[in-house]
């Protein structure tokens, strides 16, 4: 069964220049996002999840000097080699973003209306200026905002974290995007709001048919929303599978470790949670061979020297880079 690719990432490699040193934060990453489906990207902090998301539309540049190679095919066009002008037509219009920290992601000196109107003016030429107000109120009501008309006049600091994230989501859907990239959209929120936002994102996918790249370090959260899950470790994707398969029969030792760490899987002794021993390699200095081998319980000799290739299951649904599956 071949699904329609919306976005195909091939051998994406992103390096950031840090004090004259080149650090490879995303290394040879390939994945696809299908129409109207959610790909969850999971991994520990600092493993390159956010950088992967930003690289897709070359958004890294606002923070640092960088270099991206590989290909990101979206609607038959390669975004990485496209001229800046074409990229601006995709970014914010067909691919939109939601970020982790809603309180710092909205401009503190502009009102909610000013920030939302910008999107309409830029990407929705089909709406007349006089229709903005009505459209914005509707947009806010769609994301479950109470007193939407009043909220338009407020500044970000007058809103709660959940409200700010709703505004970010509303803003990201105004342009009727095909793909929404949600970078840890619930991490900074408390648990009840987290659940509400997840429900909201779910309904956006169902009702508007928006595909999503959903990034989180929380497998529980990802499991609730994702159709497919990619597990990332030290700049590389180690396993991609349909969500249910990955959660029930994880293949890569790292994925197994992550699932074992979930609180519900430590029932025998709640006080002593399981952990994956060791630390994530930092600063772009990776061990030779398989990058996970120093922490891997199933480490073999060849893991130490040779990086594992990608092994696919017969139906090509599951991919894993681990020598355990080399037959």
């Amino acid at each position: 069964m071949k699904k329609n690719d919306l976005l195909e990432v091939k051998n994406l490699k992103t390096s950031v220049f840090n004090d004259q040193r080149q650090v490879c934060v995303v290394d040879d990453v390939s994945f696809s996002i299908y129409e109207n489906s959610v790909l969850g990207l999971v991994g520990e902090s600092g493993c390159g999840k956010t950088m992967t998301a930003l690289s897709l539309t070359k958004l890294v540049g606002s923070a640092a000097r960088f270099e991206i190679s590989g290909a990101v095919n979206f609607n038959g066009k390669d975004l990485l080699s496209a001229p800046a002008k074409d990229l601006l037509r995709v970014r914010g219009r067909q691919i939109t973003y939601i970020f982790q920290e809603p309180s710092t992601c909205l401009n503190p000196v502009l009102t909610v209306r000013e920030q939302m109107e910008e999107v309409l003016r830029l990407h929705r030429k089909d709406i007349s200026r006089s229709g903005y107000d009505k459209f914005l109120v509707e947009g806010l009501e769609k994301v479950g905002m109470n007193f939407a008309a009043q909220k338009l006049k407020t500044y970000p600091h007058q809103l709660s974290g959940g409200e700010k994230q709703r505004i970010m989501i509303a803003m990201a859907t105004l342009s009727r995007p095909k793909l929404l990239i949600a970078d840890e959209p619930t991490t900074a929120l408390d648990v009840t709001i987290q659940a509400q936002i997840l429900v909201l994102l779910h309904s956006l996918k169902r009702e508007l048919g928006i595909a999503m790249l959903f990034i989180s370090h929380d497998l529980d959260v990802i499991g609730e929303i994702a159709d497919y899950i990619a597990v990332m470790y030290a700049g590389k994707i180690v396993e991609i599978s349909p969500a249910q398969k990955l959660l029930l029969t994880p293949k890569h030792p790292y994925t197994k470790g992550l699932i074992d760490c979930l609180p519900q899987n430590c029932k025998d002794n709640i006080r002593r949670r399981k952990v994956i021993a060791g630390e994530v390699p930092r600063g772009g200095i990776y061990p030779a061979g398989c990058r996970f081998h120093p922490r891997c319980p199933d480490c073999m000799d060849k893991c130490r020297t040779r990086p594992p290739p990608v092994f696919r299951s017969k139906d090509a649904e599951e991919e894993v880079s681990c020598w355990l599956y080399s037959n």
Partner: protein, 327 residues
Amino acid sequence: MLNYILKRLLTLIPLILGISIMSFFVIHLAPGKPTDIRFELNQKVSLQTRDRLEKLYGLDEPIIIQYWKWLKRLGQFDFGRSFIDERPVMDKIKERIPITLAINLVSICLIFLIAIPIGVFSAVGEGKGFDRTMTIMVFVGFAVPTFWLALLLIKLFSVDLHWLPVSGIRSLEFETFNFWGKTLDYIRHLILPIFVSAFTSLAGLSRYMRTSMFEVLHQDYIRTAYAKGLPKRRIYFRHALKNAILPVITIVGLSIPGLIGGSVIFEQIFAIPGMGKLTYDAVMSRDYPVIMCVLVISAFLTLLGNFLADIAYCFADPRIRYGAKKQ
């Protein structure tokens, strides 16, 4: 808001009093007396004459009484008469203020008009040609002492090239000019002083603006703006500048006392009869009434400048505006 303003104004009174006490005592305790200048080198003056004069000026009384009398007169806006030429202090200051005010007003406007764009464009093109050139210029500006720069410029433009007058604020034949001739004469005299007074502050402010803008450009909400697909110009001038300019408001406030205070150094070099020169001469001859008047005026302006900056901040930054309303 009105309440807040009134409260702030009331706190100014004890502050002014405190400052006046401090400066009154320090000035009076400084070695040397106003009478010394007239009598020290004059053998013919007897001790009795000197005592009589001290009594006339009220210098024989305890310092607390002197302060109390000074304060009572201040209550009626009477700053007394100068010890040197017996003229009312207010008259002396009134004739000095216009020229100092004119020079400083022009130079402060120039500083802001030039430094802010320099800072913004340096931050935007960080590390590129313009930024590097400006960084060098700025450090030269920092390092060059005002008096040295002034003397070099006089040597070049006035002595060698004869383009500009050497010093003063008007030519000898000033009275024979018509209106435009007079204006031109003033301008020719003021070009160098204004340039010198602007140049060194320009360096500081543009550096400050660069840092502020640079910081803002790395904020999350700028990334959001990029993610919306906004063109760079709009991101820089709407999203970034509006935030980056906030700290500069404080500097505008702090520069208000400088408007009147003038600069001792360049007024001395260019022989400009402004406030800086008046202050310098008054200090050198221990002309207490003039010194105290200048000090009180600058203290008042400093406090007023801070106060105005706070109020302006309220209008520019919604976070503070709404915070102040709540109180």
